[in-house]
Symmetry: C2
Subunit: 432 residues, 2 copies
C-alpha cells in the first residue's frame, strides 16, 4: 500500500544481523583505542554545508524550511557537526579529542551498487594533534576492525596521498592554476579517458604538455621525482609528512595495508594534509570503500582556535560489498539458546524457567501466541533454538519437565527444581 | 559561528556514556527475550502519517518535497514503518514476529523538560499474536530493562487500560457520542480543570451529567462497576482481556509494576486493545515516561492480512529524567585501562605493547600528539587511566619498561618481554 522511498532501505533481521556485527567490530576497536562515543543531530542549518562542504554535497542536500522558517538540512556528513561541537566547548575539552559515532547520513544521489540515499558510517576523528601518529592511528583503527571482521592484507588497501604533494605540484605551474579545481579533476582521473582528463586539466590552467607531465608524474608515483620536479617547499613538506605517517603506520603494525598513491585526491574541499581512500585489492568492488584525511583548518574556519584534525569514516554499504567479495560477511544468523514450550496450564512455571535462563544471559523465547505443541516446536526450530524445555501439565504432576536437544532430537525428563538449578547453561547432555 | 537547532541535542562523551548504557540495557533485554533487531529509514512518504497517525503527529511533521518531487516526512514514530515492512514480507516472515530497534524520531514540538524535537526510543513490537502473553511480554521487557538499570518497583508504574473499556463506556451513551474524540479528551483529563474537562466531554456528545458519570466511573477505577454501568459486550470483553493481561504479567513476574488505570488513553488513533503508560511513581517526573499498546487493525489497514500487534517504545529523554530522579543514572565515566607513555624514540615498542593489550580487550591509549612526559601523564590522568606503562629510551636500554599504578602512584620496572607477557590484565601489583 505504501512504498519505501527510492535509495532508502529496510533492514529485516537477516540483513540487520550482519550489519550490526560489522558496526560492533568497528565500534569495539574504536573503544579499545580510547575513542569516546558522541551523539549528533540529524538536522543542521543548511548554511553550514553551503559554506563548508564541497559543491557536490550541497547539490545533493535534503534541505528544506522547517516550521519555524529555518533553512535546515539532513546531515550529509558528520565533519561540520563535530567541528561545530568542538568549537562550542573548545576550552573544556581535553586534547587530543578522540571521538567516534555511528549513524545515518543522507544525500540525494542516484542509487547504485553500494550507494544509497541513506547510508550509515562510523566517523572516527582526532582533534588537537598535527602529529603523524594521529593520521596513522585513525587508519589503524579501521585496519584492526577489518582484521577483526576476517579481512586480510590481501583484501584491501589504503591508498594514501597528501594534499601538499598534489596541490603543491599543481601550484608549481604558476598562479594561473586553480589548485582546488585541479584536485577535483585529479580525483576523477580514473573515471575518465586520458583525452578528457587532459581537457579537464587544461580547464584549470595547465597547458596540454603540463597536463601530460602531471599525469605522468602522478601515475609513476615516485615522491622524490614529484618533489624534485615541483621544487617547492610545499611539496617537500608534503612528502616528508606523508613518509612520517607511513613510518608511524609501520610502528602501529598497519603499514602493510598502505599504498602510496599520488593520484588519490578525495572530493571534499576541507582536507589539508594526508588523505586516504580504502579500496578492494582485487578491484572487484570498483568503488572506494571509504576515505578520510587531515583537515587542519576547519576548526578555525568554524570560529574556533587553530586546531589540527584528522578523521576517517568507514561506511557500511560499501564495506558490505567488500566483506561479501572476500567471503567474510558476518552471518548474523537467528540464534536462540532456549525455547520454553508450554502445554496446558503451565505458564507460571514456564515463565519462571524462562526468566531464570534470561538472568543467566541467554536468549530465551516462550509462547506468546497461544500456540499448539506442534506449532511451538516448529517456531522453536525456525528461530534456531538449541534446547527446548517442554513444560507440560502431565510432566508437572510428577514435578518434571522435558529437556530436548534440537540438533539430535534427543530428550529426557528432569526434576523441575533442577532446571536450570545451579547450572549456568543446562542442556540435554547434563541430564542424559 | 553556527548554532545547533532548537530542540536538537549534541551528546558529548559525558552525556553519551549514560545514554549508551541505558540503550544497551534495553537492547540486551530485548535480545534475551528473542526480539530481533531491524533497521528502518529516516524518511517515508508523508501520506503514510496523514493516513495513519493521529492529527497531533501530522501537525508536527518535518515534511518537505524532495528533489524528485516526493512529499516526504522525517519519521515521527516507528509503527507505520514496521507495519509497512510486515506487509511487504507478510508471507515469508515467521509469526509471531518480534522486532526491536533504537533510533531517533522527529517532531516539531515546543521543547520542554524531557521533550525534544529529535528524540530517541527503542521500539519493541510483536506481530501475529492476539494473546495476552504478548501484551505482558512487551511490558516485561521494559520492566526487566528498568530493573537492570537499578530502578525498583517503588520507582515506576505502568498504568494499564483497554480501549474496549474506555471506548465501550463512551459508546454506551449512544450513537451520538464521538468515541475517538472522547478518548482524546479523556487522555487530557489530568491536564485540565474539571469544568473544562466536562465542557470537552460535552463537545463529543455527552450531557453534563453523563460527563460527570464518566469522570466518576473512570476515576473510581472499578472495572466491574464500569462493565456493569455500560452493560455492553465490548466493555465486558475489554475487562476480561485486561484481566488476562494482568494475569500473564503476574506469571511473568512483572505484575507489581502494573496499575489498573481506566483513565489512561494514549494519544494515538490506531490502538485497539490494552494500552499502557509508564509514570514515575513519586510523581516528581510529571510526564509520561513512555507508552505502548495493542494495535490489531493497523497491518490490515496497510493492505496486509489481519494480523494482531502490540508494542511499546521506551524513550531515552524521559527515561533519563526518571533515572536521575531515582538516583541511578548510569555514570558512563571516562574509563581507560592503560595509557602507554612514550619517552624518546620508543614508538615501535610502545605500539607493540598497546596492540597486545588491545588484543586482550582493554581500552588503551598512547600518544598521538608528540606530547612531553608530563603532558602525557596529565592526559592519562584526565582519561582515567588505571595503569600507565612508561616506555622510555633509558629503560629500554636495560630492556625494561616502568609500570605505574595511577591510583597509588606506585611504580616499578619490569622486563619489557614480560609486559604484558602471558598476563591477561597486568597491573603494578603483578610486579611489585
Amino acid at each position: 500500500m505504501y512504498d519505501r522511498l527510492k535509495g532508502f532501505r529496510d533492514f529485516y533481521p537477516e540483513e540487520m544481523g550482519p550489519r550490526r556485527e560489522a558496526m560492533d567490530a568497528v565500534e569495539t576497536v574504536c573503544r579499545r583505542y580510547g575513542f569516546r562515543e558522541v551523539g549528533t543531530p540529524a538536522l543542521e542549518r543548511a548554511q553550514m554545508y553551503v559554506d563548508k562542504s564541497g559543491e557536490g554535497i550541497v547539490e545533493e542536500l535534503y534541505s528544506f524550511e522547517d516550521q519555524g522558517g529555518r533553512h535546515v538540512a539532513m546531515t550529509p556528513e558528520l565533519t561540520p557537526t563535530v567541528a561545530r561541537m568542538v568549537v562550542a566547548k573548545q576550552q573544556e575539552l581535553t586534547k587530543p579529542i578522540k571521538w567516534f559515532s555511528t549513524r545515518p547520513f543522507w544525500r540525494y544521489e542516484e542509487p547504485q551498487q553500494g550507494r544509497f540515499r541513506e547510508f550509515y558510517q562510523t566517523n572516527v576523528d582526532i582533534f588537537g594533534s598535527s602529529a603523524p601518529e594521529a593520521d596513522a592511528e585513525v587508519m589503524a583503527v579501521v585496519a584492526d576492525a577489518f582484521d577483526r571482521l576476517g579481512l586480510t592484507p590481501d583484501d584491501f588497501e589504503f591508498r594514501v596521498n597528501h594534499r601538499g604533494i598534489l596541490g603543491g605540484l599543481l601550484a608549481s605551474f604558476g598562479d594561473d592554476v586553480d589548485v582546488e579545481d585541479g584536485i577535483r579533476v585529479v580525483d576523477k582521473s580514473e573515471k575518465v579517458e586520458r583525452a578528457e582528463y587532459y581537457d579537464l586539466l587544461s580547464g584549470v590552467g595547465l597547458t596540454r604538455d603540463e597536463a601530460r607531465q602531471v599525469d605522468d608524474l602522478l601515475s609513476a608515483g615516485d615522491l622524490d621525482e614529484i618533489a624534485e620536479f615541483a621544487g617547492t617547499d610545499q611539496v617537500a613538506a608534503g612528502v616528508e609528512n606523508l613518509r612520517a605517517v607511513m613510518a608511524a603506520a609501520e610502528d602501529f603494525g598497519v603499514r602493510e595495508y598502505l599504498t602510496l598513491s599520488p593520484e588519490t585526491a578525495r572530493g571534499l574541499d576541507y582536507y589539508t594534509g594526508a588523505v586516504f581512500e580504502c579500496f578492494d585489492s582485487t578491484g572487484e568492488v570498483s568503488r572506494s570503500i571509504f576515505g578520510g584525511g587531515r583537515y587542519d583548518d576547519l576548526i578555525e574556519e568554524f570560529g574556533g582556535p587553530s586546531m589540527p584534525a584528522v578523521g576517517v569514516a568507514p561506511g557500511y554499504a560499501t564495506m558490505t560489498l567488500l566483506l561479501q567479495r572476500a567471503g567474510v560477511l558476518p552471518e548474523g544468523t537467528l540464534s536462540t539458546d532456549y525455547y520454553v514450550l508450554r502445554v496446558g496450564d503451565t505458564r507460571a512455571v514456564a515463565a519462571r524457567i524462562a526468566r531464570q535462563l534470561r538472568d543467566r544471559g541467554h536468549v530465551v523465547e516462550s509462547d506468546v501466541a497461544g500456540r499448539s505443541f506442534g506449532a511451538q516446536l516448529d517456531y522453536a526450530d525456525s528461530v534456531g533454538a538449541e534446547t527446548v524445555v517442554i513444560v507440560g501439565e502431565r510432566d508437572l504432576e510428577n514435578d518434571e519437565v522435558t529437556v530436548k536437544d534440537m540438533d539430535s532430537g534427543d530428550q529426557t525428563t528432569v526434576p523441575v527444581e533442577e532446571f536450570p538449578g545451579d547450572r549456568d547453561r543446562p542442556t540435554y547432555d547434563d541430564f542424559a
